[in-house]
Amino acid sequence: MSYPAPSMPWWIVARREIMAKLTQKAFWISTIVVVVILIGSFFFTFLFANSQDKMTVGVTDEAGAQVVALAAQSSGRDIQSSTLPQDEIRAAVEDGDIEAGLVRTDDGWDLLVDSIETNVGDVQQAVSTYMTNQNARELGIDPAALQKGSNVTLQLTGEQVEQDAAIALVTGLVFSVLFFMSALTYGLQIAQSVVEEKESRIVEILTAAVPTRHLLIGKVLGNTIMAMGQLLIFLTVGVIGISLTEFGKFLPLLAPNIGWFIVFFLVGFAALSCLWAATGAMATRVQDLNNTTMPLTFILMGVYFAGFLARGTAAQVLSYVPIVSSVIMPQRLLSGQSTWIDAVIALVLCLIFMGAAILVGAQIYRRGILKTSGILNLKEAFSRAG
């Protein structure tokens, strides 16, 4: 008696990859560490932003209080005044009870701070405005007339970076980093798991039982699912974090496009994974991996930098190139430079590339499997007699 051929061997392989990851301590530790770092960084940004926005300025009289009120009004920050006796102000600043002290002197004002980094520009500005107004009134001049014609409006020339584009740039950067990090860590792990199977020779049993193509697809699929899972966890934490900061107002803008980022991440990652698996098959021992994965690491670096350096025509062309498109196309969609038709074209190109990568990878894989010493070079991998 024997059993029928499994209907989806690639899924059995993928499931094993997933289970192997899930039972790995290192996987959970790295996931938790990143989540903790994310939460921590948002927490500190939140604290820092709030502490910078809120400020109490010690004053000695009504004029000082008015200056502070003016500063609060013009800057929109939460700046409070607190009236103290003049001889206590310096000590209060030094003790940190108040962030700054504003004291009138014979020829002007002293603004006391205990650190050059204390953000008191608004208060300085307010002092100047307050005094100009007061002097004008004393001289019988309308303060508005005095200010007339001094209004400066900043005008930008050339192609304008709109708010959407700025956000696209930032998100693009974030995604480039995410893509780079995941592709590198997971890529190396895929390559490593291939070499380990070669080293332990289980690969001989596997390839005798299942076509190499299925092994490769299963490996790529399993790891892609895990990478996506991790990415979604990080994104969820990230989105919740952002919604708590002042950037939260940009979220509705991002929402429709985050889908594109995920789709492109998915396809780009999977395409790259096929190449990683193939590079793994070219090495015999884990130590050889550095040599065989180097070209891919360089490609990744290129993708990473292209992600936020490419502009104009270069960016437009690169946005169709498989793998690079994963980083550039979503940005262009977000900034409105590309349409969904471009996106679909880029996706189709990437899928074609993926199919080719799987075929090439399977070929290298087959040839590499019985190579038990040294590194398989490309010429050997594709020569006819294998």
């Binding site: 024997s2 059993y3 051929a5 061997p9 094993r16 192997a20 289980i202 049993i205 005798a208 007699a385």
Partner: protein, 293 residues
């Protein structure tokens, strides 16, 4: 039936396997013997489709072997292959599933095999924590878990103690009883002699002998041993007798033909009681040395 026809494999200038042909009959143990570098592993890899032959073919029931047929084989590679850092049960179930078993079937079969090998308590242990002998048992379990239609085992008994060898042999015998052909390679000639029905001897990539173990042992010149109660010196002068060894009342000889044999026996009986007279069964190792010299 598994037939190997004119398989040839070259690595550069070296011909590792040179026009090798033999067959593995259903329900028979075929021992594959040869020194290091004789081409055993290369031949087995070509049978399993892991290496492309430069020439020749592998047939299953008279037709060229297909990927599907190979997928139903049980295979044990030379350099043992399983995941060292994974629990035993997990990987056996995985391999079972890849061979088309359902998860529950694979689980059941793996559990039964492990119980049988006395590893029932350790199914959740990582492979690398097991002794080498036990790892070897798991490796054999991996080859047989999915009820293979053929077995190709590269040095399956390496590193097993005599009890374990018997245990594994009993397991494999269950397959030969069901007419599964079993090909296994080994360095241990005494083991091959004891366990195999057929034998294929490979030297420098070529088949130098092949056939049932019994007939191989009888091949070539047959030695006869004679033991009587008086000196056998007269044998030296007897026609048609070549004396190999003579020690008083005991001798080892080669007869030219049956007539000479019968004449010597008659004369010996005439001279006194004959205690022993018959062909000596030569150990396989003798034959091996003679053939591969």
């Amino acid at each position: 039936m598994l037939e190997i026809r004119n398989l040839t494999r070259r690595y550069g200038d070296l011909t590792a396997v040179d026009d090798v042909s033999f067959s593995v009959e259903p329900g028979r143990f075929t021992g594959f013997v040869g020194g290091n570098g004789a081409g055993k592993t290369t031949t087995m890899r070509m049978i399993m489709g892991l290496l492309q032959p430069n020439a020749g073919e592998v047939l299953w029931d008279g037709k060229p072997i297909t990927t599907r047929v190979r997928a139903q084989f049980g295979y044990m590679p030379e350099e043992r292959g399983l995941y060292p850092k994974q629990p035993i049960l997990t990987q056996l179930v995985y391999l079972g599933e890849l061979h088309g078993m359902s998860r529950s079937e694979a689980r059941e079969a793996a559990g039964a095999l492990m119980d049988r090998f006395g590893l029932g308590e350790r199914t959740k242990d990582k492979l690398e924590t097991l002794s080498l002998g036990n790892q070897q048992r798991v490796q054999i379990a991996a080859a047989v878990i999915a009820q293979p239609i053929g077995l190709v085992l590269d040095e399956p008994f390496n590193g097993l103690d005599p009890d374990a060898v018997d245990e594994m042999f009993a397991l494999l015998s269950e397959f030969t009883k069901r007419q599964v052909p079993v090909l296994f390679s080994s360095h241990q000639l005494d083991l091959v002699e004891r366990l195999c029905d057929d034998i294929v001897i490979l030297a420098k990539g070529k088949v130098v002998a092949d056939g049932p173990v019994d007939s191989l042992r009888r091949a070539g010149e047959t030695h006869h041993r004679i033991r009587t109660e008086s000196d056998l010196g007269w044998l030296r002068d007897h026609a048609g007798v070549q004396v190999l060894d003579l020690d008083g009342a005991e001798a080892s000889v080669v007869f030219a033909d049956v007539a000479a044999e019968q004449a010597v026996l008659a004369e010996a009986m005439q001279r006194g009681p004959v205690r022993a007279f018959g062909p000596t069964i030569r150990p396989l190792s003798d034959i091996y040395r003679e053939i591969t010299r």
